[in-house]
Amino acid sequence: MQEPAITPDLIAAHGLKPDEYDMILEIIGREPTFTELGIFSAMWNEHCSYKSSKKWLRTLPTSGPQVICGPGENAGVVDIGDGQAVVFKMESHNHPSYIEPYQGAATGVGGILRDVFTMGARPIASMNALSFGEPGHHKTRQLVNGVVEGIGGYGNCFGVPCVGGEVRFHPAYNGNCLVNAFAAGLADSDKIFYSAASGVGMPVVYLGAKTGRDGVGGATMASAEFDDTIEEKRPTVQVGDPFTEKRLMEATLELMQTGAVISIQDMGAAGLTCSAVEMGDKGGLGVRLDLENVPQREEDMTAYEMMLSESQERMLMVLKPELEAEARAVFEKWDLDFAIVGETIAEDRFLILHNGEVKADLVLSKLSSTAPEYDRPWEATPEAEELAEVPQIDPIDGLRALLASPNYAGKQWVYEQYDTMVMADTARTPGLGAGMVRVHGTDKALAFTSDVTPRYVRANPVEGGKQAVAEAYRNLTAVGANPLATTDNLNFGNPEKPEIMGQFVGAIQGIGEAVAALDMPIVSGNVSLYNETDGQGILPTPTIGAVGLLNHTDDIIGNEVREGHVALVIGE
């Protein structure tokens, strides 16, 4: 098949700026092939490379005696004592959810669950933080319905209890809804699995669902600002298959028990490309892939399509060759595809062959290490103006108005569509403050909360960032939990605008100061930028997901107010 010529238009369509393309030419010393261009665009887009945010993320406190693994892997890992660890992360699926609310939200849940079980943890709790436009806006109803059904459709089938989340409405989200999904799992602390490959000549194994042309170019889209041409950029949206995901989880955890797994990485954005590069890069190895062995759902797929496909419910592993038969048996038991698609090599190369033909031949370590990193200009958010006189209204009328506002009204309509009790360990379902699940078979429990108040962050990013963390801290302590650690999902507008970048920088500063003061380090997270439509950005929304531990379920502070109880106000 004739591959397209590399033209400026093609380069632009891959979301690469002219100077970024010049960097590519310099790194490889020649013009890239079509497949190589695709690989670079996937590795270097904002979503995978964090090119605008990396500099600032590095300033966040990420360590502490409780932290087993901080940011940099699929999810953070935190010690909960007795040889066990909680593994958690939060991730956004904002743009896909706006285009296809059900499937976009569903695959967002799928992605975060995979991040957790890839590390060897069985998911035990989930949360979802949602921001929508005004209730009266013509798209809102359909988005709310679709997103909530999608989250439920996926999570309920997979079988993880939803214990919390947020739902807010504000006109700033009219053109960009936010769907942030959190998942936490439980693992033995000495059996955590990482992505770094080791050993030369080890089989690289593909597991899970077959590869289709889903979302080819999707990672590039997730980092692009929306405008009226959105219709044209629409890629094939992925359809989630929670039943396959559930089997993939069971098979992965079972396989880990056999001792066959050297390293493992889920295929998320820009699937095969990102996962293979990450395993090689972290392990200081090269990787060769023979794409004809990739299980394919469609005919005549090209190397380019396979390298960029975002088909869901797939994993890449490096296996001990002597245990291959055992591994294969586990996957056959669960009726999943299993194929050896390549091997680790000693040379620092990312070598992609398709039916023996070289489709890409790059220096592997350069793919991520040379990714552009920007120190984008930023402007501190000016101090907010004093509010006008607070209008005087009757307190009861005020209370009524608050209760009637969609932002403060009860959210049963949402969380009753989620299975909040599966696994039979939910000690506190959503409703008030933090949710809680017991650590199965022990007296302990884990509490979860997700918080941010975007209008505070807009008014003062530093204080708003602190406030989000403080609120999370209070939600955990209020149920009797000891706050352990935090994940964050930083949703902002276009970082190329200094005032937006200023919100980002300020919020990170505030979050960093607060998590340091409260000893709840950031162990994982996700950044979603370019949440803008026609130049209209969202409110800065750095969602904080926090986890706390109760050493004994007797310590749970209940929320049932009874006659005879005394009410106290604590604090200023």
Binding site: P242, F243, K246, D335, E416, Q417, A424, A427
Partner: protein
């Protein structure tokens, strides 16, 4: 006293049901859906909640065709005990072990919450720990729990006192508010609500405990 809990690839309440059985004194075998036979000496089969085969096509339809379901059908034909909860109830109707079918909830939404159930009969191994007329709180969690049976079937269920539980406030459109029914020999129970989620006071309450206890009373070796 032995219980077998069937495990389909998409079951997700299998462990929960096993825990509830164990707490009531049963020894539990987990039985894989590809197995063609139940273990020897099983007193009761539990078909758990979840999404057996993703609930694609119709809830429980594909599961009903699995090898293990043939064995479950044989077991019940021999007069063996079985309980199907939620997806398990859907599977029992799809295999024809229990009459009727479960349709999409009338409100079209998945619903997870604790609901009031009225015990309609205490005349079964499952319900003899309650008094007819008792109202208990048991969680539901389903998308397709809208029980349907034609008029003749319905009349028969009522005449034979086979409605085990009804909803005090019908959440899903079920005909006659039916939440659970028993088989003609009263040894098979299918119900949409999850008694195993209400068998522990740290989670979901304890109104379901009496069901498992009654079973262990009936099935304990003399």
């Amino acid at each position: 006293m032995r219980a077998a809990v069937i495990v389909f690839p998409g079951s997700n309440c299998d462990r929960d049901l096993a825990v509830a059985f164990e707490q009531a004194g049963f020894q539990v075998d987990m039985v894989w859906h590809k197995d063609a036979a139940l273990p020897e000496g099983v007193d009761i089969v539990g078909v758990p909640g979840g999404f057996s085969y993703g609930d694609y096509l119709r809830c429980g339809a594909i599961a009903a065709q699995s090898p293990i379901c043939k064995a479950v059908v044989d077991h019940t034909k021999r007069g063996g005990y079985a309980i199907g909860v939620c997806n398990g109830f859907q599977i029992l109707t799809e295999t024809g072990i229990l009459p009727g079918a479960l349709l999409r909830n009338a409100g079209l939404k998945y619903i997870c919450r604790t609901v009031g159930l009225k015990v309609e009969t205490s005349d079964s191994a499952f319900t003899e720990g309650y008094n007819a007329g008792d109202v208990i709180g048991i969680p539901i969690a389903h998308h397709d729990g809208n029980y349907f049976a034609d008029d003749a079937t319905l009349a028969k269920l009522q005449d034979q006192d086979r409605v085990a539980f009804t909803y005090t406030e019908n959440p899903n459109g079920s005909v006659g508010d039916i939440a659970g029914i028993v088989s003609e020999n009263r040894r098979v129970l299918g119900m949409m609500p999850h008694p195993e989620r209400a068998a522990d006071d740290g989670h979901g309450g304890t109104d379901g405990t009496a069901l498992f206890r009654a079973l262990s009373g009936v099935l304990a070796p003399a």
